[in-house]
């Protein structure tokens, strides 16, 4: 039996349910699944916890969902890139959990790898380690960090093959391969879907077992900003 993972954004996005925890790839808008986020703005799931390095930018990417009041909580490392986040946070409309970027990345990797937590030296002795368990290992103090997992991950890759193997483009890779490993259901948005066998096994970054659905991108980031793609 051939499993067909190729889907349409508007259909597959209904996998996201109210109250879900969602991982969304991207460093700002670079490597952000803009087409899937757009589809989510037209779907009614609310009360979402978003695990993403940033909440997009003001009115762009995940910033659209913030404006629609669809987010309950954001977990990430740098919310300053969307100046509207502070306002929602101050008015008590959005919870925030701030993690150092390396801890954030590693927590997602741990979540995907079945690791129950890890000790890191990052943030020891700072406000971001307040209340967290510490441990002395070989004379150095480490802080315990828990894994991050999600119900659904929206990731952005460059190309997929029909099996769901993924390769990435330049610095648009960022958190995407990690998030593809750490959610129950993984949707990959790509610029191009090729027949299986057309990606070299050596170049595949995300093997197909992580990927549940593939959609073709419609919205892309260009020098002129976010635009509809000519197909």
């Amino acid at each position: 039996m051939v499993i067909n993972k190729i889907s349409i954004a508007e259909q597959v996005i209904t996998k996201v349910q109210t109250g879900d925890t969602l991982m969304v790839g991207g460093f700002g808008l670079v490597g952000s699944p803009l087409t899937l986020i757009d589809a989510l703005t037209h779907h009614d799931a609310a009360d979402l916890t978003i695990i993403s390095n940033n909440v997009g930018e003001a009115g762009k990417g995940l910033g659209l969902l913030l404006r629609q009041d669809r987010l309950k909580k954001a977990v990430g490392s740098y919310f300053t890139s969307n100046r509207e986040v502070a306002k929602w946070y101050n008015e008590g409309l959005l919870e925030l959990e701030l993690l150092p970027q390396g801890t954030f990345s590693e927590a997602i990797r741990a979540g995907g790898a079945g690791i129950g937590g890890f000790y890191t030296k990052t943030a020891v002795g700072t406000d971001l380690a307040a209340g967290k368990e510490t441990k002395l290992i070989d004379g150095e103090t480490y802080v315990l960090e828990k894994p991050l997992k999600a119900n659904v991950a929206l990731v952005r890759a460059w190309k997929a093959d029909t099996k769901g193997n993924l390769i990435y483009y330049k610095t648009a890779r960022n958190f995407n391969p990690l998030m593809a490993s750490a959610a129950d259901y993984v949707i990959a948005e790509v610029d191009e879907i090729v027949d299986e066998g057309n990606l070299s096994p050596e170049e595949i970054v995300t093997p197909h077992l992580y990927v549940d659905a593939i959609v073709e991108s419609r919205l892309i980031l260009t020098r002129e900003g976010v635009v509809e793609r000519d197909i």
Partner: protein, 215 residues
């Protein structure tokens, strides 16, 4: 040359060829302008080893540095995901991190991620870099915009790490962390010791060599 450019150039002079360097946002980004691009390997935490500057016509919106500025890729560059990138940082594989700061204090502590009274909503890779890079160089203006010293007795802003910064470079002077305190090892341009003293509340020692030179 502006004072920021002078600071960046001085930071570049501290670097050993063929080292792996991570540049922060602001003055640190300018350091790249004073490096022989074939002799240094620039790492950016969003997932590239081999950052180069890029001409405006070659800008690729999906190729950026940690400050989300467009960059280019060097020959022999590599891309990797964020967890690998921070493994390089925390794992001690980055030789030098050059970072900005809001405050640096007498004990070598750096505060560069949060301002008290303002919302603490961004940290990025600052804490990982301070913990993991083999050497930390801080480049900053000597005083804040309101004229208050940034090189202070004890940080009043939240610290980024409990690890000391090895070198502090401002438009007035260069300070090196030696034997548990900062030593002023070099005056920038026509600065004199009194200028530094008047704009600093931190404790520091003036190096013997510098005192000798000025006798």
């Amino acid at each position: 040359m502006t004072s920021k450019e002078r600071i960046a150039k001085k930071a570049a002079e501290q670097l050993v060829p063929h080292s792996i360097i991570n540049l922060g946002i602001g003055i640190p980004t300018l350091v790249a302008n004073y490096l022989d691009k074939d002799a240094y390997y620039l790492h950016t935490e969003n997932g590239l080893l081999g950052v180069t500057s890029v001409a405006e016509e070659d800008v690729d919106p999906l190729l950026v540095n940690a400050g989300k500025l467009p960059v280019g890729e060097a020959t022999g560059a590599s891309y990797f995901h964020s967890a690998d990138s921070f493994s390089m940082i925390r794992g001690g594989h980055i030789d030098v991190a050059i970072l900005g700061a809001l405050q640096v204090d007498s004990k070598g502590m750096v505060a560069n991620w949060a301002i008290p009274g303002k919302d603490i909503i961004g940290v990025g890779g600052a804490m990982d870099l301070l913990v993991g890079a083999k050497k930390i160089i801080i480049t900053t203006n000597h005083v804040a915009k309101d004229g208050t010293p940034k090189f202070v007795e004890e940080c009043t802003y939240p610290v980024t790490s409990t690890r000391q910064a090895d070198i502090l470079i401002t438009e007035l002077a260069v300070f090196q962390w030696k034997n548990g305190r900062y030593e002023l090892t070099e005056l920038m341009g026509d600065t004199n010791l009194k200028d530094v003293e008047e704009n600093t509340t931190a404790f520091y020692k003036v190096s013997e060599q510098l005192l000798e030179k000025r006798r």
